[in-house]
């Protein structure tokens, strides 16, 4: 994705020029240039809301229509005198529009579509490769019995699709558990991800997950605001330690890590306290 040239106030010369041309009578070529530079950003954001390609394409076009509307009114709102880069600012504008589209279409906006929303074949791949830790070749051989036309490329692309839906933290967990598995077995193997929530479980397990989430939410309330923010940035949004340290002005990654560990410990204690209280009540 091409970024703009950035000067001291964050707004590049290319951006200023582009916005100027978008506000002119002949804005067509500027719009084409805008799309060449930022369509990938728009589609990437739309993909975070919609797994299905036809729907993410609809969302993409909706965003483009809205940006185009009323003589590029939204784009021309960008304040070139302030410090934020155009691309970052555009990212938030596109996010808002994707939320609008999702609410308009489905009545609510949901990010990170659950694995349960995947087609049946992708879910089988999810179970085999992520949950059961089979490598792609073994999965391919096993699946071929049910899907005679299956190719290794199709398995590969399904794995990529499924991985793209995991949060960075979940992906990290996959890596760590794989490594633990390799150490335990003394050979290369993709270990299973036993702790990843299983989206394909039945109602009882789903109810248990929902109950655990509620316990967690209740426990979070008792943490100091700073700890809540750290946990949410790290585990809900999957930000890196470096980015968290930068955003929360903690200075360096080690310090951010220590603060997050302390927050996790406090949360763990709260959850235990709540569970003990519930057990006593019952």
């Amino acid at each position: 994705m091409q970024d703009d040239l950035t000067n001291d106030n964050g707004s590049g010369r290319l951006t200023v020029d582009l916005l100027h041309r978008l506000s002119s009578a002949d804005a067509g070529p500027a719009w084409v240039e805008f799309l060449d530079r930022y369509s990938a950003l728009i589609l990437h954001t739309a993909n975070q809301f919609e797994y299905r390609q036809d729907r993410s394409s609809e969302c993409f076009l909706y965003v483009c229509e809205q940006l185009n509307e009323d003589g590029f009114r939204r784009l021309l709102k960008f304040n070139t005198k302030r410090k934020a880069k155009f691309k970052t600012w555009l990212g938030t504008v596109v996010f808002n529009l994707c939320v609008d589209w999702h609410r308009r279409e489905f009545g609510r906006a949901t990010l990170l579509p659950a694995i349960s929303a995947l087609p049946a074949f992708d879910r089988v791949v999810y179970r085999m490769v992520i949950e059961q830790g089979m490598n792609k070749e073994v999965s391919f051989q096993m699946l071929r019995a049910d899907f005679p036309d299956l190719t290794r490329e199709l398995v590969e692309s399904a794995v990529i699709r499924v991985y793209s839906l995991l949060t960075p933290r979940q992906r990290w967990n996959v890596t760590i558990r794989n490594r633990r598995g390799q150490l335990a077995r003394g050979r290369f193997s993709e270990d299973s991800v036993q702790h990843l929530p299983d989206p394909g479980t039945g109602p009882e397990a789903q109810a248990q997950i929902q109950q655990d989430i509620e316990t967690l939410q209740d426990a979070m309330v008792f943490l100091p605001a700073r700890q809540r923010l750290l946990l949410r940035l790290r585990f809900q949004e999957g930000l890196s330690l470096r980015k968290i340290a930068e955003l929360t002005q903690l200075g360096d990654t080690n310090r951010a890590w220590r603060h997050i560990q302390a927050a996790l410990k406090a949360l763990f204690e709260q959850v235990h306290e709540k569970k003990s209280a519930e057990t006593r009540k019952n």
Partner: protein
């Protein structure tokens, strides 16, 4: 619960977004916060706000994913061409240059048309769609309904209920001239049976050959006149032996 499970659950609860509020920072402020340009005085209120605003936290998370996006998503030529064609629509600002008399004429004509349209009675919601309203009318009717308040709920069976073959399946009606697609899915997510229906009831056929004791899922999808769809949640059910 171990720590990994805690953190995975935190990721799970992040899916649904809350509404944006008037207290949420504007886009420029969020972008400046993300890039670390804010002074201490501006930084702290945003940080306090982020702690419990799911919407703004998601904006930060999205910026992070946008910046970290390793590979460029594949954009079809056709889609890109459609987006590029949007620029050929005349920009709305041209209207700003029309003479005042033309603008006044537009207002007068609009008021006249609105008054005229009010004299035509609207078809009542819930009437027999086939007899009372055309597809076009019902489409405009649906546009008047706030889709955010429409829910397609399966009324029977209840989630997790055990039902016998031949039981009646029912779902809440969505107003307008629409039809429903009903799906029965296996536990693995494979569609075992699907049918297009007009009403809001269906007798689960005995020839479906569902295995007693196994878990299945039911989903109903309303196909709206404008081509959009509204889907129910997957309702799990079990099948008992015929009594």
């Amino acid at each position: 619960m171990d720590i990994d499970k805690h953190t995975d659950l935190m990721a799970l609860q992040s899916a649904e977004l809350t509404e944006r509020t008037p207290f949420c920072p504007d886009d420029q402020e969020i972008a400046e916060y993300y890039e670390g340009h804010l002074a201490e005085l501006e930084h702290q209120p945003i940080e306090r706000h982020l702690t419990d605003c799911r919407f703004c936290l998601a904006r930060i998370g999205m910026l992070n994913r946008q910046q970290d996006a390793g590979s460029t998503p594949r954009l079809s030529e056709e889609l890109l061409a459609s987006a590029k064609r949007l620029a050929h629509k005349p920009p709305a600002r041209v209207l700003k240059r029309v003479p005042a008399w033309a603008a006044a004429a537009v207002v007068v004509i609009s008021v006249f048309m609105i008054m005229n349209s009010r004299q035509q009675p609207l078809p009542a919601l819930g009437t027999d769609p086939a007899e009372e309203i055309s597809t076009e009318e019902s489409s405009s009717q649906l546009r008047r309904i706030d889709r955010s308040v429409m829910n397609l709920n399966v009324l029977n069976p209840a989630p997790g209920e055990a039902i016998s073959p031949g039981s009646l399946v029912r779902w809440a009606e969505i107003p307008g001239n629409i039809h429903y697609n009903v799906f029965v899915l296996s536990n693995a997510g494979d569609v075992l049976w699907t049918q297009r229906l007009q009403g809001t009831e269906w007798n689960m056929k005995e020839d479906l050959q569902l295995v007693a004791g196994n878990e299945y899922f039911l989903r109903v999808e309303a196909v709206l006149p404008d081509g959009g769809t509204l889907s129910s949640k997957h309702t799990a059910f079990r099948v008992t032996d015929r009594q």
